[in-house]
């Protein structure tokens, strides 16, 4: 028997050698050098939900399922995706069962079991822990083990789209043995575990210097004996986006620089050195201008920008909202600020293709100054001596705010010039991103307060299902003093029809019907002018020309398939 085994092993080894490709052996391609211009603070994504932390930890800890580069769910630590068809999801949509891959080991050699999955849920839902990924487990009533390799999740109410808990880089499974004493308020105290989580991924952490540099090495217990091709990774952090891109594209010191958020023409000159390439993928990010449906007049004091302040004196007119959108030339904005990493869009749900609507592209995608002017003329907005339109003493002069960022300020200038052509004035303002997005109820400059007429920023949704995202425009999600200015319905849009349709979506399980409803909701928002979608933004990163196997992915972590990366020989 032993001999047979030896023989088999020998055959496998011989086959592997005969394969002869560079990727057949683990750890043969040396060190992979990664540069993040925002340094990583911790490797526990439950304690910090920042994109950089989620990415860096996704190299080590993995979820049960991921979304691949095409936007399709792929089993990862699970052996298949549970669906209603294969019996993995109960018919009443109240529970789902994940079957875990057998023989998956943690990097310390112990077995990965259902207990770890259950523990992860407990870890994030223990009160007072401040778990940043709490929303991933929303509606989960219980997580239990059917057997050591089967996990059943039960929900509080029917869940038509149950792929949130343990799916994607935001919800990876952590090792129960390592984190068992770190529940609740004890979580931050477990520094060693937070800085070096034990994982099932292709690499394991060997050294972590917070906000500086991380070193990983190939996981000897990784489930695929031939992977990863790289022996180690050095992930350096800090600096700025332009110099990070330069270190890959121009000097070739690094293999991969995350998030090349740099003006297109600057990248062009760096690319001339021929050392690197840019990879772009599109997820769901949309740069938009939100229109304030309530009155932000400072004279209203504490009531400003709430429903109590009443509708916006100028923006309550649908003609004005439509004209503001018609006047914008999205192609110019894309060309100036985004290059290949942006596409003009009229949708707030721009992807995946199955749920992206094309209904409004005909009137909205192309600039039409004539139509915009005519709309305003017909609505009775007349140009005054200063070229600004007015009606009944209300002037079309808008305070236009956004966060501080060179691309946004350039876009503001462009939009201002475009609006000037239809007799609309704009006063530009910007606030530091940490203040603008900070949500401090005491600050007047947050996007939630919306103490201006129009506001510009980007938002997106995780994964491929827009249900939670579309629910942000519900009437009761408006920020205001009552909820401490928390709430995601920034434009203060309120339409009972919309609310009803979101309710229907949350009860619909059929994927095609869901897509249809999502499109309808998306179209309502664009047509009624809750906002003006501008640019469908992609993720753009720079890679060395010697790096192979990269599949840029906006639906999941950019390093989701790092086990397959290798060095060109």
């Amino acid at each position: 028997m032993k001999n047979v085994k030896m023989l088999l092993a020998g055959t496998v080894a011989a086959l592997a050698l005969a394969g002869g490709t560079a990727h057949a052996e683990r750890g043969t391609d040396g060190d992979l050098k990664i540069l993040f211009w925002q340094a990583v603070s911790t490797l526990n994504p439950f304690l910090s939900a920042g994109t950089k932390e989620v990415l860096a930890s996704s190299i080590v800890i993995e979820p049960l399922a991921r979304t691949d580069e095409k936007g399709e769910l792929t089993p990862w630590l699970a052996s298949e995706i549970p669906t209603v068809e294969n019996g993995g999801v109960a018919k009443d949509l109240l529970s789902m069962t994940w079957k875990l891959k057998p023989d998956v080991k943690w990097s310390d050699g112990t077995a990965f079991t259902a207990e770890d999955v259950i523990f992860t849920w407990k870890y994030c839902t223990t009160p007072d822990g401040g778990c940043a990924q709490r929303a991933q487990y929303e509606g989960v009533k219980n997580v239990e083990a059917v057997d050591p390799h089967t996990v059943r999740i039960t929900f509080e109410e029917p869940k038509p789209y149950p792929y949130s808990a343990f799916v994607g880089p935001q919800s990876p499974v952590i090792q129960a043995a390592q984190f068992k004493d770190c529940l609740g308020t004890k979580a931050p105290g477990c520094t060693a575990a937070n800085f070096g989580p034990i994982g099932t991924g292709a690499f394991m952490v060997t050294d972590f210097k917070p906000n500086d540099v991380i070193t990983y090495k190939a996981n000897p217990n990784y489930r695929d004996a031939a992977k990863p091709a790289f022996a180690s990774i050095t992930l350096k952090g800090g600096g700025d986006a332009a110099s990070a891109a330069r270190a890959v594209l121009e000097t070739g010191e690094y293999d991969y620089a995350w998030n090349a958020q740099v003006e297109p023409e600057v990248l062009e000159t760096m690319m001339a050195a021929g050392k690197g390439r840019l990879e772009i993928s599109f997820g769901t990010q949309t740069e938009r201008i939100n229109l304030n449906w309530t009155n932000p007049d400072p004279a209203l004091g504490a009531k400003r920008s709430t429903t109590e302040a009443g509708p916006h004196p100028a923006l309550k007119d649908p003609a004005v909202r439509r004209a503001l959108s018609l006047a914008i030339d999205r192609d110019i904005i894309v060309e100036a600020g985004y290059g290949k990493s942006g596409k003009p869009t009229c949708n707030i749900v721009p992807a995946p293709a199955a749920v992206a609507s094309t209904k409004n592209d005909s009137w909205c995608l192309k600039q039409d100054l004539e139509a915009a002017n005519k709309l305003l003329d017909d609505a009775g907005w007349v140009k005054g001596g200063d070229g600004i339109r007015a009606k009944d003493g209300v002037k079309l002069n808008f305070l236009y705010s956004t966060s501080t960022n060179s691309v946004r300020q350039a876009t503001q200038e462009l939009v201002k010039a475009m609006w000037a052509e239809i007799g609309v004035g704009a006063e530009l303002r910007n606030a530091s991103a940490s203040v603008f997005f900070g949500g401090d109820p005491a600050s007047p400059d947050t996007f939630q307060k919306f103490y201006s007429d129009v506001i510009m920023y980007t938002n997106n949704f995780d994964g491929t299902d827009p249900e939670k995202y579309l629910a942000e425009w519900l009437c009761d999600k408006m920020p205001g003093p009552a909820n401490g200015w928390q709430g995601q319905n920034i434009p203060r849009y309120c339409n009972p029809e919309f609310d009803k349709l979101v309710g229907t979506l949350s009860k619909t399980a059929d994927l095609e019907k869901r897509a249809e409803l999502s499109k309808q909701l998306n179209d309502m928002l664009t047509e009624e002018g809750a906002h003006i979608p501008l640019v469908h933004r992609g993720d753009q990163s720079s890679f060395s020309v010697t790096l192979e196997g990269v599949k840029m992915n906006s639906w999941d972590s950019q390093v989701w398939n790092i086990a397959d990366w290798s060095r060109k020989k």
Binding site: T234, K236, R246
Partner: protein
């Protein structure tokens, strides 16, 4: 002198307490938020829970008192414990935790100190070593070509910001000539000649940028101070006595001229610890300066508070040292 020092140290305590309160109040009033950097996909309820877990739901005064306790009692006890191996109580006490990393702030600072001292400290040292001879010669040969060039370079070094000289050096020496790396490797351990050379190579550019800046400032002080002294009566006396010119310059004039310069240098030492925020960021040296700036951007209040307070302590301390040094170097000055 001794009683003077003691008195000054005693007065430093209330000063520092007031400073710590002012810093804390200012940071609290600033409209930053630790959840501001998180993706917008994190819903508001979760943000609220995160803030509560950071202790932000407590009143201002309680948070301040907690910080005082953590910084002045818990942290020193911890250091004492790790130095002596003794244990007080159960050894479990709340340390000052950074909000971004959730790890003890003091550990972060200790981890960052070597880079900063090496790069910024060395640049300061080089700056002084370059500045003194240039300042001396410039003053001695006032309005000569050497003086003109020296003045020009120091004006350039002083007025051109480091974010320009830094990027310029990267473009020339990293992108074009490819002599030096543009990214500082904090993992590099000097174990043999090759790694020593690698360390030298990666330090050249940041040290050069900072040394130029430091030297420019100090040269001006040395030159001005030398000029003051060169026209003093005692110089004329020395020359009349037939003392060699070399001795007049280096023994009589230089020593007297260095008195105010030493003060300036001592006052500048705290800036080594506060790091060179911009230069560290450009070359990714990731020392204390970069730690401070990322903490400010991420609204990591405990880290900003602790770092700025440590800088305040250093400034107060080196002011005292400068005063004491002045008294030691200049016999005309007596504090008692």
């Amino acid at each position: 002198m001794f009683t003077y020092t003691l008195r000054r140290l005693f007065f430093a305590i209330p000063t520092l307490l007031v400073i710590s309160f002012v810093i804390f109040a200012l940071l609290d009033l600033a409209p930053n938020d630790p959840t501001g950097d998180l993706p917008l996909t994190i819903p508001p309820e979760v943000r609220e829970q995160i803030r509560a877990s950071l202790g932000l739901d407590q009143p201002f005064l309680i948070r301040y008192m907690k910080w005082l306790q953590q910084f002045f009692i818990n942290e020193p006890l911890n250091i004492f414990e790790s130095l002596t191996g003794w244990q007080f109580g159960d050894g479990e006490r709340m340390r000052v935790l950074s909000w971004a990393t959730r790890s003890p702030v003091v550990d972060l600072i200790v981890q960052r100190l070597p880079q900063t001292l090496w790069v910024v400290g060395l640049a300061y040292l080089f700056g002084i070593l370059i500045a003194i001879p240039i300042g001396v010669i410039s003053a001695y040969k006032q309005y000569s070509i050497f003086d003109q060039i020296g003045t020009f370079i120091s004006m350039v070094g002083y007025s051109v910001p480091t974010f320009f000289t830094g990027v310029l050096l990267i473009v020339i020496f990293s992108s074009y000539l490819q002599w030096f790396p543009s990214v500082y490797d904090t993992n590099l351990r000097v174990t043999d000649f090759a790694s020593f050379m690698a360390q030298m190579k990666q330090m050249v550019m940041p040290v050069a940028v900072l040394a130029l800046y430091n030297a420019s400032q100090i040269t001006r002080f040395v030159r001005a101070s030398m000029l003051d002294n060169l026209h003093q009566d005692y110089v004329r006396t020395a020359r009349a006595k037939g003392v060699k010119e070399r001795a007049v310059l280096l023994v009589h004039v230089l020593r007297n001229s260095l008195i105010p310069v030493v003060t300036v240098i001592a006052l500048g030492v705290p800036t080594i610890f506060s790091g060179a925020i911009i230069t560290e960021q450009i070359f990714r040296v990731n020392g204390l300066g970069q730690l401070l700036i990322t903490a400010v951007q991420g609204a990591d209040m405990p880290l900003v508070q602790t770092l700025t307070f440590i800088f305040a302590v250093l400034i107060v301390l080196f002011n005292l040292i400068a005063d004491v040094l002045y008294g030691i170097l200049d016999p005309r000055i007596r504090y008692d």
